[in-house]
Symmetry: C2
């Protein structure tokens, strides 16, 4: 190492020849697609053992079933029954959200759980339908076919969309593209859930007030419009209210007095009986939730509450002939297990667009929910779930589901949480639930005929209220304004435009932010921390640049085409600023040290930028050195011949070494350097 004073103190940089491309590629692919290194366990095993492990890996049931015992079963039985009691009301209600027959909701809690029990890797996940995806699927397909005029076709399209969702999930799982789900950020999901909850609750006003006609749109404005102006359109048009509606559309005069006015106009179509019943039920459900919040050990109360609601609702409706008093009921539910629906799948090009769209969007949504919940429970209980394997399981259960009259299912937050708190131990709880559903379908189904829609609405509303996460939104606002914007844009987009657009906006913003981040990596000036060998950000640890003429910059990561011109300008600006601090000779920079320790990756444009900077500095009479380049960065710099141009003696392993050698050079050739720097 030429130009360095006390060589023995200097630590050698590892200039070993770059790894072969295949090596690099292999590790890159591994990190991208197998971050959890699933095949580790197969190493140094006999072939037989390996085969066994492989089967156990891909079909988890073979892993846990052999070790299964009655002790575990007792827990799973309880949990299974608990979630079954939740599955019945949720099944019926969410089916209504998707505008499909209530019975399909029950079907959907029979077959898919069995499939998941075999292929699923999470122990706590409870399979079932979810509100958001149900509504989204419904509203997307409604654009093509009306569920009222052509219910069979509509239903078939829902099955088809479910099939596509399954195929998509399976594909992602097989291709190990779990990464796709990673792009739904926490903030996006919070916002989306909030927005969805709002519109779903508004939709329930239909059930609560027992309205007969309603809008197919999901956005706040049209729903409010439908709720308040639900009379025959004619009636509205020759009525001053129209102007109000328009005003309301622009949501300008939207105030209480306005609302009251509309109320008085539209009460005629509202059924007070239904409203009263709804409010009672809602109060009951909220009270149960409250109990649970107060004392988590009472979780089963709120878990059972929906079923209680439904049952009492049935009895009430049955004995009071509620339907005659304007309280709508679910209507006939025929006995029997899932009919086969594989022949009903409809791939005609006319609807392909809608079904594909519905399938893929709902798939991504429900997957992300299922994977997220699975992960969080795994973390809690210190286990591992593999997102890609989960996708595979979801995919299979939806494909099979679409063949057996089920619609989209996943692992809902609510149900899984109940499953967890009910103390489930394995996926067996799903099997138990599924058996309970079988019984229901074979025996009890008809009894649910009298379920009042208003009861379902109450159930949905109380569930949705739990999804509006004020605290989280506020937390985002406090911690990270941009995250808050992402969250809010999602929520507002969902509430006022449409669910898919809202989702897109939110995800788009998140990606733009990521790109923005890449294009503006933080470059900071480092100074030495007194009596230590540490160099830290001067902004964070204010101090003095102890060696005049030497500027140490810590580069942000990565150095990429998108930020090269920025980095160049930023560095030159640092030098300008330094020089201009004081016009004293002392402040003329003679050495620029770039700490690349944090730079994890560099591309071709980045390499060129570094050499441009070097050339530019040379003209200014400033020597440039780089410090602690990581292995893949150093490799690129070597192959690109940058190291040869720079000179190996200007690559250091630590800032200390670099400073050391700079000091030496400064003393060594003062005149010369002065000479140079005058050019600058």
């Amino acid at each position: 190492m030429t130009g360095v004073g006390s060589s023995q103190t200097v630590h050698k940089v590892n200039f070993s020849p770059p790894r072969s491309f295949s090596t690099v590629l292999k590790s890159a692919l591994k990190e991208t697609f197998f971050p959890d290194d699933p095949f580790k366990q197969f190493e140094n095993e006999s072939r037989k053992k390996r085969a066994k492990k492989a089967i156990q890996y891909f079909i988890p049931i073979f892993e846990w079933l052999p070790k299964y015992n009655f002790q575990l079963f007792k827990f799973d039985l309880l949990a299974g029954i608990t979630i079954a009691s939740l599955a019945i009301p949720q099944g019926i209600s969410y089916a209504k959200l998707a505008n499909i027959p209530a019975i399909v909701g029950l079907y959907s809690s029979f077959v898919p759980p069995l499939i998941y029990a075999v292929f699923g890797s999470s122990k706590h996940l409870a399979v079932g339908t979810v509100a958001a995806s149900s509504l989204l699927m419904g509203s997307t397909i409604e654009e093509k076919v009306s569920p009222t005029t052509d219910p069979t076709l509509y239903l078939n399209l829902v099955f088809t969309a479910t099939f596509f969702a399954g195929i998509f999930e399976t594909a992602l799982g097989v291709l190990r593209l779990g990464i796709v789900v990673d792009f739904l950020s926490h903030s996006t999901i919070t916002g989306f859930m909030g927005g969805t909850a709002i519109i779903i609750i508004l939709q329930q006003l239909k059930g609560i007030f027992g309205l007969t006609h309603f809008t197919t749109k999901t956005d706040v404005v049209s729903v409010l419009h439908a709720v308040f102006a639900n009379r025959s359109e004619v009636r509205i048009h020759n009525f001053p209210i129209l102007s109000y509606i328009l005003a309301l559309k622009t949501s300008k005069f939207f105030g209480t007095h306005m609302a009251r006015h509309l109320l008085s106009l539209t009460l005629a179509t509202w059924r007070w009986e239904s409203a009263v019943l709804g409010i009672i039920y809602l109060a009951f459900l909220m009270f149960c939730r409250y109990l649970k919040k107060k004392n988590p050990r009472l979780f089963w109360v709120s878990a059972m509450a929906p079923l209680v609601t439904v049952v009492t609702g049935c009895l009430f409706a049955y004995f009071t002939h509620a339907e005659k008093h304007g309280i709508q009921i679910v209507g006939d539910l025929k006995k029997g297990l899932n009919p086969i629906s594989i022949k009903d799948l409809n791939f005609s090009s006319e609807y392909l667009g809608a079904t594909l769209k519905a399938g893929i969007i709902t798939a991504i949504l429900s997957m992300s929910e299922g994977i997220a919940i699975g992960r969080s429970f795994a973390i809690m209980t210190n286990q591992q779930t593999d997102g890609n394997k989960e996708m595979l399981a979801f995919g299979l259960m939806n494909i099979v589901g679409s063949f057996t009259s089920c619609y989209l299912t996943t692992g809902p937050f609510s149900k899984s949480a109940v499953n967890f708190s009910a103390g489930c131990k394995t996926a067996m709880s799903n099997v138990v639930m599924s058996l309970c559903m079988m019984l229901t379908l074979l025996v009890l189904a008809p009894l649910f005929k009298y379920t009042p829609l208003v009861a379902l609405s109450a159930i949905i509303i109380s569930a949705m209220l739990g999804l509006i996460d004020y605290e989280e939104a506020y937390r985002l606002f406090k911690v990270d304004k941009f995250d808050f914007v992402i969250c809010m844009s999602g929520m507002i987009g969902v509430a006022f435009i449409s669910m898919d657009i809202g989702l897109l906006i939110s995800v788009g913003l998140a990606i733009v932010r990521a790109l923005l981040y890449i294009s503006r990596p933080a470059t900071t000036k480092l100074v030495k921390i007194p009596n230590s060998s540490l160099y830290r950000d001067v902004e964070q640890y204010p101090g003095e640049n102890e060696v005049p003429g030497v500027l140490v910059l810590q580069m942000g990561s990565p150095i990429y085409f998108a930020n090269c011109s920025y980095i160049k300008e930023r560095i030159l600006r640092y030098i300008r600023d330094e020089q201009s601090v004081a016009d004293g000779k002392a402040n003329i920079i003679e050495h620029l040290l770039l700490d690349l320790g944090g730079v994890t990756s560099i591309d071709m444009t980045g390499v060129e930028t570094l050499s441009e900077i070097r050339r530019n500095l040379e003209l200014k009479g400033i020597k440039m050195a780089i410090i602690d380049p990581r292995i893949n960065v150093l490799e690129k710099l070597t192959i690109a011949k940058f190291i040869d141009v720079l000179g190996k003696e200007f690559v250091f392993l630590s800032i200390e070494d670099a400073i050391e050698s700079c000091r030496f050079m400064l003393n060594e050739s003062k005149e010369k350097i002065n000479g140079d720097s005058n050019l600058a």
Copy 2:
């Protein structure tokens, strides 16, 4: 600091309260939009001074003109004349590429340079039309209107597109969105240029062989088809050649014998006279290029060559009445300066799509070329250019251009390079060129009537050959395979699909790569380098983990929603691997140290991930500590209460300190820790 042995050796972490949001936002915005800190110069100045500086800043001519003198002018005069000699042939040729009258090409080198001289901040940039944008604009508008059947409308649409390009550039400049251009990576541009060069060269076969009919498509297949099968379609169809054409389309049997065969078939339509002339000129031009390459001081030879070609061509054609021998000539060029074209701008919705598309794409393209060339010369001569100001200048010159019968102009590589080597000192060289062009338009224009198209084709080909950068492509292949793919996809996309698609593919790939990078930041295990206080990547500096039970990981940057689940899994995997290395007690990890020094940014999901990891480790009986969090990361962690949960005593400024305290804790409470770790 509890739990730490020798506190005095430990350096305090700066836990000062987070900066206010406004502060953070302000700096973020500044870094994003004003990386070059243009207003620095205005600080501590009197208002009057400031106003003056502001004007000088926005209208650079006020900065350099006052200091201008005859000495400088001598240089600029020479340079100006040189680039004018290049502007005439280039203007005519590129106008032909865009299928617009040759004279418009000359107009375009008269007005825009004057505008640029006033607003442009680069001293070496020479304004002119560029081949790529000309072709792209032409082919885009041709989709709507044919230049042969309705030339006036076509021309007006070209002006309109130019106008939109100008508006777009101005807008980006005003909004300081230079960042958009940053997303055209070096590799993308290399690939795009190469592809464009190929298709442009192929297009010139038309001129070289004096073909009369030709295709409007730009992709290789259709152009080759047009060249070889240019006879009346009928003739082809009842001819075996058709099968060959198809074979050629799949470019399977495309070999020399085939080519010869087709040649023999199609020579009938080719004019050998034209071909011979073309080849002679091409040879001449290539020779001049070669001279320049050999001896850069002879740059003027190759700079003058095109003009020589045109002039000799004119004379030759004039005296031999070449047009009668199948050598097509440019045709009438009417005298006089640019007619006003503002009234010709056509905003009818029918063509709006095409003009907008053409305008915006060509704007981005030409801007990036202009800014890139400006920057690189600025770097060479150790000056500064502001990308955003350049955009503004380009925008203005194109807006004014579109009002005065000019089409899209920018700072072409070739012309600016000549300008630079001709020793230009200021933008005055553009003024000189513009004046020369004025003379040409007023006096000489008609003389160029006889310019043989074949001469122009030769000029274009020789220019384009310079744009195919084999060496660079090979370099990319060697240094960065992914960059190579980006480059090639751009080139192939342009050559075989279309220019805009090719560009999109290439840019898309680059962005996907950036996102992929973000979603898989490199996390590395650090070990101590013998007799030093340095901890480095074990893969790079193989060594032993000297303190058993302590695992040090260096986190990649950023910690973002897109990579959180990856980071979590990766860290857990590191721990698993560590524990499994040997089953000896020694290998049970008791402390995980996360070096966040390289992490420049973290978002909400990231913070949550860290706390999840912490919780998970706790269950495993592993203590987690973080090292050297940067200011904005530490702020987020503080606001999100993560630091409180973790405990300030587990935040260290250096790995050494952390290890120190771990060692202390290990000794202090061996039993207890063993107890914990047994749980793991």
